[in-house]
């Protein structure tokens, strides 16, 4: 029987597409800029200081670690800058400098370099750093407590904290438009759902992030939040509120999509993203923490090697 050829590969020489690791990271940095600028616009100089220190110290730790470990200097690939930027965007704008520097140390050293550098990290480095530091110094990650002295002209409380403590009624008056444009208490660069969505769509359009993970993440979060809200509307806030507040958008597009901590095939990506969204809502609504994204993403990072086993069968037989 004449069977068509399934795989055709031409011989060398190949032509490099021109895009490499640095371009990928620089584009990710560009994608974070709209949300970071919104954060600076709302919280002012303190947010700028946190973001700048976070990026600079992350690059500094990368330089030091690669020098000490006698590894190739990877500062130029921009990955440390991306980790620093995303970590800074999660922090309250008023955190002390030592917390930022410690956090980027944990992200770069424990989150990345210990495992062998870029591409070898099993967890998203900024998420791991946030998780370790928020357990160690809980009060610095309490947005209400940290931003007490910041003058704002919108709802002056952390929406997820209020929704968890006082029910859906406490956040019913917050306009969704405020949450979209970033007029909410939260991280130095993670409050504007719209800006993060623009950055995320840019990354998807350029092909640096596959659409499956963010879409499945958002769908998992949205559907779970809808079910909770339908069951107890007075206790659990609606799906749009949960989608536009906390770390939902930065989680879907920037945290869950970490290269080496997320799967590569379509079905695994869909499962990975959906479980992340579902776990986020379970932790937010019935867990101990107001914001569930951090631990949900650590969990799906752990799950990644397992779901990555769902892959197409190799053509041919092993002799």
């Amino acid at each position: 029987m004449n069977r068509p050829k399934k795989l055709i590969v031409s011989h060398a020489p190949f032509w490099h597409i021109g895009s490499a690791v640095p371009e990928r990271n620089y584009n990710t940095l560009i994608a974070t800029l709209p949300a970071a600028l919104v954060g600076i616009g709302i919280y002012g100089a303190p947010a700028l200081a946190v973001l700048c220190l976070s990026v600079a110290s992350a690059i500094g730790w990368e330089f030091l670690l690669t020098a000490i470990a006698k590894r190739p200097n990877t500062v130029g690939d921009g990955n440390a800058a991306v980790i620093g930027m995303i970590f800074g965007m999660l922090l309250p704008a008023t955190v002390p400098w030592w917390l930022v520097v410690t956090g980027t140390f944990v992200a770069i050293v424990i989150g990345k370099q210990i495992f062998g550098g870029i591409g070898a990290n099993p967890f998203s480095p900024p998420v791991l750093a946030y998780a370790i530091l928020s357990v160690a110094w809980r009060v610095y990650f309490d947005y209400d407590a940290q931003l007490l002295n910041v003058q704002v002209d919108f709802a002056p409380f952390y929406p997820l904290g209020a929704a968890k403590a006082f029910g859906a009624g406490a956040v019913a008056d917050i306009p969704l438009s405020d949450l979209l444009i970033g007029r909410q208490i939260g991280g130095a660069g993670s409050t504007s759902a719209l800006a993060l969505l623009i950055g995320g769509i840019y990354l998807v359009a350029r092909g640096y992030v596959r659409w499956e993970i963010p879409l499945a993440f958002i769908a998992g979060l949205f559907i779970t939040a809808t079910m909770f809200h339908a069951a107890h509307p007075e206790a659990y806030a609606g799906p749009l509120f949960h989608l536009f507040t906390g770390f939902s958008m930065i989680g879907a597009f920037f945290l869950a999509t970490d290269d080496s901590a997320s799967p590569v095939n379509t079905l695994p990506m869909l499962i990975y993203g959906a479980v992340g969204g579902i776990m986020t809502m379970l932790i937010r609504n019935i867990g101990a923490y107001p914001e569930g994204i951090i631990f949900a993403i650590l969990l799906i990072n752990l799950m990644n090697p397992l779901v990555d086993k769902i892959r197409p069968k190799a053509i041919g037989k092993v002799a």
Binding site: A20, V21, P22, G44, A45, P46, L48, A49, V50, C52, L53, V55, A56, S57, I59, G60, P72, N73, T74, V75, G76, D77, G78, A81, A93, T94, W97, D142, D144, A145, L148, N149, V150, Q151, P156, F157, G161, A165, F166
Partner: protein, 148 residues
């Protein structure tokens, strides 16, 4: 490929960002303003977030200072922090020992200084009851204000 050019750009950016961060932290520290914006009470029964600015400003509930803070005997002085008198006080503060240190006898019912938690409970609840606004309260309603 990671070229020398990329590396030099990163070094330059790092130095620049570090300089901005140092200036930002040194020149624009977030200090507690003289009149508080929001206050957080860390109590045995969880934290309580109090929006001082909304209670005091004309655009908010427009309360005057003396609706909550005491007038002091014989002189007009700025309202002080509740913790200045109502214990537990900041470490090292021994005075006042009695309400009479600042108040006249006709201003107060009992010279014994109330604990801060009792004073705040009475203050918050009586006002909210008077206006019929804000979170409900009572023996089973702690979680309307306290966040565990």
């Amino acid at each position: 490929m990671i070229s020398q050019k990329h590396r030099m750009i990163m070094y330059g950016v790092t130095v620049l960002l570090l300089a901005v961060a140092i200036v930002g932290y040194a020149a624009f520290p977030v200090k507690a303003p003289e009149e508080p914006i929001r206050l957080m009470y860390h109590t045995n029964a969880g934290k309580v977030l109090f929006d001082h600015q909304t209670h005091a400003s004309a655009l908010g509930f427009a309360l005057s200072c003396t609706d909550c803070h005491h007038l002091h005997a014989g002189e007009e002085i700025e309202p002080v922090s509740c913790a200045m008198c109502h214990p537990p006080r900041p470490s090292g503060m021994e005075i006042p020992e009695s309400c009479l240190d600042c108040h006249m006898t006709d201003e107060i019912e009992d010279p014994q200084i109330m604990k801060r938690s009792d004073a705040l409970h009475e203050q918050c609840m009586s006002c909210h009851e008077h206006y019929g606004k804000g979170p409900s309260f009572g023996p089973d309603e702690c979680a309307k204000c306290h966040v565990m």
